[in-house]
């Protein structure tokens, strides 16, 4: 018998009307990597936050190394050897790396002594786990991948024996994710226990020893990874069979709907992010833009949708120019048939403090349907929202709930529903399934293909290569702001990977 590092017994937790965890039992064996999967809003983060003492369970027991411990606050969890990397990082953004790592573990009242010690210890950890990061860098200036390193170092600095990672790979490039997994393997070989939450079943299969599945607040199954399959896990998660790759017929491209011509965009610091990019998008086709995050895809989307001003170039929407270098007005573009699902739904797509039904009409609020003279017609708005909720299976089905209280996947569905349902000519989507579970991914993918079949032109940007390959009719690869190649969807992953890394592209451009 192996030792049990963590045992949860009968954990129950409600947030007001939302029953997030229902009588959960879980055993995690020492020295293993234990995966936890489940749909958006299944209660994974909540359960782990209870284990970490961030939330208090309404009832239930936590055993660490076989002994019942009362984890009343994160302090108690840290004392019990538990560390957690949260889904939304818990870092002080204007502090340095070192300050963030020390916070709460400073050793003495006066900082100076602690700082020297922390520096030495940090260096040791960095070397041991190959997690280099400049201790004097300010967090807000670091890319997310490095910020996550800081979070991991924070836990290791506190000598965590049990490390919880809540969706760590959602923000990482494939190479960074590989590196993270090597670190996790190393931790495991040192006898530490890792709990990994992720939506990516491939990662579960690749790295975990056991996997537990949650659905709607309940723990529905625990499997030994070697004895299960992606299909079984997906089915357990959603409660029905899921198509991991949706069916899609031949595209029947029609007229050019969007013509991008020599577009160049710079970011706030004056660095060229999009460099002389040209392409056409036709009715009834999906063009995917692949690339490692940060190679200009975001800026390209922003320029086309009128959020960011371009330096030069032109864009034609239905044959008529968009003032991309001047004052393009997103709301006017919307009226002209261009809908945009932004990459960052929290900051650009939604007002989290609004009710669901209010977000469901954001930007379309001057539509006559929703107006009563100068006033909003609340009844019409709610009825419309209810219908949309039913169609898109948004949970919980309550148009009056604050948007912040929906899980990530459901928030994404709210935005998609809003932008797709008016049948725009051109749909621009950034990262449609970031942080979204398999069930919802299937739904969203099907929907996008349906829209294409109805003659919509879809421009899709995603850092998930699988998604690009599953949906696109044509794939453009971006690297360092340029389109370095165009491929068919049957191009191999390796081929696309090389293009994305800028290797093949240079040759091609030179020819």
């Amino acid at each position: 018998m192996d030792d049990i590092a963590i045992e949860l017994r009968g954990i129950d937790k409600s947030f007001g009307p939302v029953h997030a965890n229902k009588n959960i039992n879980l055993k995690v064996r020492k020295g293993t990597i234990h995966g936890i999967i489940g749909e958006n809003g299944a209660g994974k983060s909540t359960l782990m936050s209870i284990l970490y003492g961030f939330y208090q369970a309404d009832s239930g027991e936590i055993l660490v190394d076989g002994k019942a411990v009362a984890i009343r606050d994160p302090n108690a969890a840290i004392a019990a050897g538990i560390g957690m990397v949260h889904q939304h990082f818990m870092l002080v953004e204007n502090f340095t790396v070192l300050e963030n790592i020390m916070l709460g573990a400073e050793d003495s009242q006066i900082l100076n002594k602690g700082i020297a010690k922390a520096r030495v210890e940090l260096k040791r950890l960095e070397r041991e786990y190959a997690l280099e990061v400049d201790p004097d860098a300010v967090i807000e200036e670091l890319p997310v991948g490095l910020q996550q390193r800081v979070e991991i170092l924070k836990a290791l600095y506190r000598r965590a024996d049990i490390l919880i990672l809540d969706e760590p790979t959602g923000v990482l490039t494939p190479a960074e994710a590989d590196h993270l997994f090597r670190v996790l393997e190393q931790l495991k070989s040192q006898g530490k226990t890792v709990i990994l939450i992720t939506h990516k079943l491939r990662e579960i299969m690749a790295i975990t020893d056991e996997v537990s599945v949650m659905r709607r607040g309940e723990m529905v199954a625990t499997r030994t990874t070697a004895e299960t399959s992606v299909e079984e896990l997906a089915e357990l998660m959603v409660g029905r069979r899921v198509l991991l790759r949706v069916e899609k017929g031949e595209a029947k491209p029609g007229d050019v709907k969007l013509a991008v011509e020599e577009l160049t965009v710079k970011d706030g610091r004056g660095v060229t992010m999009v460099d002389n990019v040209s392409f056409n998008l036709r009715a009834g086709e999906i063009v995917g833009i692949a690339g490692v995050a940060g190679n200009g895809q975001s800026e390209l989307l922003e320029a086309i949708s009128g959020i960011r001003r371009a330096v030069s170039g032109s864009v034609l929407l239905n044959g008529k120019p968009i003032e991309v270098t001047g004052h393009a007005d997103p709301s006017e573009l919307r009226d002209r048939g261009l809908a945009h699902v932004p990459e960052d739904r929290h900051h650009v797509g939604l007002v989290l403090k609004f009710e669901e039904c209010e977000n469901a009409i954001l930007g379309y609020h001057h539509d006559k349907r929703y107006l009563n003279g100068v006033f909003l017609n609340i009844d019409a708005i709610r009825k419309d929202a209810e219908q949309r909720i039913a169609e898109y299976d948004i949970r919980p089905p309550n148009p009056r709930l604050k948007t912040a209280n929906f899980s990530g996947g459901n928030q994404q569905k709210i935005v998609l529903a809003r932008e797709m349902e008016r049948g725009p000519d051109v749909l621009i989507i950034g990262q449609p399934t970031r942080g979204v579970d398999v069930g919802a991914i299937e739904f969203i993918h099907k929907r996008i293909i349906e829209m294409r079949d109805q003659g919509m032109a879809v421009l899709l940007v995603s850092v998930e290569l699988d998604e690009i390959r599953a949906l696109s009719d044509r794939i453009l690869v971006m690297f360092a702001g340029r389109v370095v190649g165009e491929r068919n969807p049957d191009a191999t992953e390796g081929e696309l990977g090389l293009l994305m890394a800028g290797v093949e592209g240079r040759k091609e451009a030179a020819e």
Partner: protein
């Protein structure tokens, strides 16, 4: 009077009027850096000034007066803390409420206890602060330039004045060199980070609020025990708000706070000096304009000259874990 002498006198009164601003702005620094906005500096200062005046008059002890000032100010801070930290109320509303309550109740209590139209009785020698003369101040006054600077400008202030200026580096040291300071600044930026690091957000914020109370107590005591000999109703006259402006103007940094307070103090001293004296070229300047200058300056400078003043990110927002 030669020009040099005018300058020395002007700077001397600049220091005098800057002291309560420095105390109050540093007080605000502690709470706001911890994420609790405090528009109630004015009220706390006024309450402290009243307590100091009243207790000093009754006990004839300046120290009892100072102690009373600090205690009252801490009590008011805790009220603000209870409303905004524990009850997660609106911090602006709570601060404004404190200002109003204090403005009214000091007058009522003052009238009820002393019957002098809201004043407290004039304080005798032992019941108020005396100026401190630095060593050799008299003997070196005659040395040109340095003499007057030392003897008139630096020497001959109240003990509290020296404490105020000493508090600037002390506050800096607390905020940037101690564990408490690190945590306090962190909780004003991201309370979630503090919480998950195993530190109590609530207790930390309460401690910040108490620091604010202590410093506001000094500010109030200075007004009624040093600057004047007794409490006069409404004697803070908006100093709490000016301190708040100085705090923003200084981008929440101790050294800048001192400079901002000195600048605003200088404008104040200048306004008093110019009262009734026409300026060359410009002529008579209405005193109201001079008094409004700190605010006008804050708005203009913040609007573009000193760059963006970024407040602590979690400022004004109660920490709520479960929505």
């Amino acid at each position: 009077m030669d020009f040099f002498h005018v300058i020395v006198v002007l700077l001397e009164s600049t220091i005098r009027v800057s002291v309560p601003l420095i105390f109050a702005a540093l007080a605000g620094l502690f709470t706001e850096r911890a994420g609790v906005f405090d528009i109630g500096l004015e009220g706390k200062m006024l309450g402290a000034a009243f307590a100091a005046g009243a207790v000093a008059a009754v006990t004839q002890s300046v120290w009892m007066g100072l102690l009373a000032a600090i205690l009252i100010s801490i009590a008011l801070s805790l009220v603000h803390g209870y409303a905004s930290i524990t009850q997660r109320g609106n911090q602006i509303v709570s601060g404004v409420a404190i200002n109003f309550i204090v403005a009214g109740s000091t007058v009522i209590l003052g009238e009820a206890w002393f019957r002098q139209g809201g004043r407290t009785p004039a304080l005798g020698e032992g019941a108020r602060f005396q100026v401190v003369n630095l060593p050799f101040a008299d003997s070196i006054r005659e040395i040109p330039i340095l003499g007057p600077i030392y003897s008139d400008l630096l020497s001959g202030h109240f003990l509290l004045t020296y404490i105020a200026f000493a508090m600037v580096p002390v506050s800096w040291w607390i905020l940037y060199r101690t564990r408490f300071g690190l945590r306090l600044r962190a909780v004003g930026e991201n309370p979630g980070a503090v919480d998950t690091a195993g530190i109590s957000v609530i207790w930390l914020r309460y401690r910040a609020v108490i620091c604010c109370g202590i410093l506001c107590g000094f500010a109030g005591a200075y007004l009624s025990l040093a600057m004047t000999a007794g409490f006069v109703k409404g004697m803070t006259a908006g100093k709490g708000y000016i301190a708040l402006a100085a705090l923003i103007f200084a981008k929440w940094r101790p050294k800048n706070i001192m400079l901002a307070c000195l600048l605003f103090g200088f404008l104040d001293a200048l306004a008093i000096r110019l009262q009734g004296n026409p300026l060359p070229l410009i002529g008579q300047v209405p005193v109201q304009l001079m008094q409004a200058l700190p605010y006008i300056l804050t708005v203009i400078l913040l609007a573009g000259f000193i760059g963006k003043a970024i407040p602590p990110k979690a400022g004004g927002v109660p920490y709520v874990k479960e929505r």
